[in-house]
Symmetry: C2
Subunit: 275 residues, 2 copies
């Protein structure tokens, strides 16, 4: 049995609408820290066994949750759980910084970068590029129906990066005005497909049609060691407009042939890749 | 000088957010009928000369307005203006019916048709196919930010056609579940590009990637005899979300290489075409 505090963290993770795979992984690590505070011995072991199922089940599209649940060993010793959860968090923070470093090198002076939805890895790349004194412009989608794009617009405003917000349907019109596309990834499958906010595939197609290089940024814990593109389970959240049910699959799958590279903390993976 | 009644029709045409090229053309023809009621002689002639500029200026992307303004001769005789405006309306109605006939032949039993935005020509095709006793399903976009898709959903409900509404960003996810794509067109350029609601190009790309045939339906008065794809002027309407200006170009341009055919009242034009 999982303690109520852990249950409520899982609940919060399931309810989250805006934030993606990185946030979920951090929140999941936090759940393990709470577990280490609350239980020990056989109770801890049995709870950890339950977490192997519960954590990935929060969102099956998220490799980060799958990898986190396998990063924490099943043990009766709380101090091991605490140490491993802390290590996961530290590695994730380092990974994000390194992606900022590597990704920002792709940005040339006066680059026009198009992105979709909100990715904390992409934001880190923008932040690092700004620190390096680079000048660039961003085209970003509002990203209906939850409008994560507006949250990104706010961050860009703080960084002093000029930007334009577009509707999702204008991705095709604006892709050809960009010189580089950068998106996050909630999952990179074993066969190199990028699973990300629905609409990412359309951006990749439009970039392909206009010859604009398309990159995804993802910490290595988002690389799924087992899943293939065909097996990705697409999560849906209820949404209605003027009384009509509107389908709302959160993610789509961009095949590797449209991806120039995946920016990880270890460098840029180029297709075809096998992890 | 145009009479105030005509000015106010032009104003209504400029303000219209939802309805497309066919509605605008009908409204424009109505303006000519009012002109024929109100003026005669030299005053009429001078007003008609003004309309040659004013009517296309309502929306430069709409070939229908361009063609309408050239269909009505510059004359001092109100009865000629009335007769030609009535002829335009009658031809347009016949064209719509014939497009329904021809287009519905493309729909096979159990077809899954994906569309974007609201096209009265596409709706006519659905209506005729239903009359012919065909069974099919429709996937349609909500079409943000004005949600024309919801208006189409209402019409499909009346026709008893099963449908699913999707967000615009899911076009890629659902194109591969469709067996046929049908969209309207506000304009078909001399080089065969389809100008239609922004997002149409993305649907065409996704259909191309999944091998789904993509057709546009357009009365012949939407074929522009002069304009090329590169010269299309893209109209923008102000739109904001949570205090941020959001770009809102209404149309995008789908190159002919992604279009299987343009359904007109004279038959299906296949690229490459020259009018």
């Amino acid at each position: 049995m999982l303690p109520p505090e852990v249950r409520s963290i899982l609940e919060e993770m399931r309810a989250e609408r805006i934030r993606g795979a990185s946030w979920l992984a951090m929140k999941g690590a936090e759940a393990y820290l709470v577990l280490a505070e609350t239980l020990e011995g056989e109770e801890l072991e049995s709870a950890l066994r339950e977490m192997r199922t519960e954590i990935p089940a929060v969102n099956r599209t998220m490799a980060s949750l799958y990898n986190l649940s396998r990063f924490i060993p099943i043990t009766d010793k709380p101090e091991i759980v605490r140490a491993k959860a802390e290590e996961f968090i530290r590695l994730a923070e380092e990974a994000k910084r390194e992606i900022g470093n590597i990704g920002s090198e792709l940005i040339d002076e006066n680059e026009v970068i198009i992105t979709h939805s909100f990715s904390s890895a992409v934001l880190e790349i923008f932040r690092t590029a700004r620190k390096k004194g680079k000048h660039f412009r961003v085209i970003l989608t509002e990203s209906a129906p939850d409008y994560e794009g507006i949250a990104l617009a706010r961050e860009l405003e703080k960084l002093g990066v000029p930007f334009e917000v577009i509707t999702d349907a204008q991705i095709g019109l604006f892709a050809e005005r960009a010189t580089l596309a950068l998106v996050g990834a909630d999952n990179v499958t074993r066969d190199g497909a990028v699973v990300n906010k629905a609409g990412t595939y359309l951006l990749a197609l439009a970039c392909h049609d206009s010859g604009v290089p398309f990159y995804a940024a993802a910490e290595s814990f988002k690389l799924h060691p087992e899943l293939t593109a065909e097996e990705v389970e697409l999560v849906e959240r209820p949404y209605a407009r003027q009384g009509y049910r509107v389908r709302n699959l959160l993610f789509d799958v961009t095949p590797w042939r449209y991806v120039r590279g995946v920016i990880t903390e270890f460098g840029i993976l180029v297709p075809p890749k096998e992890i």
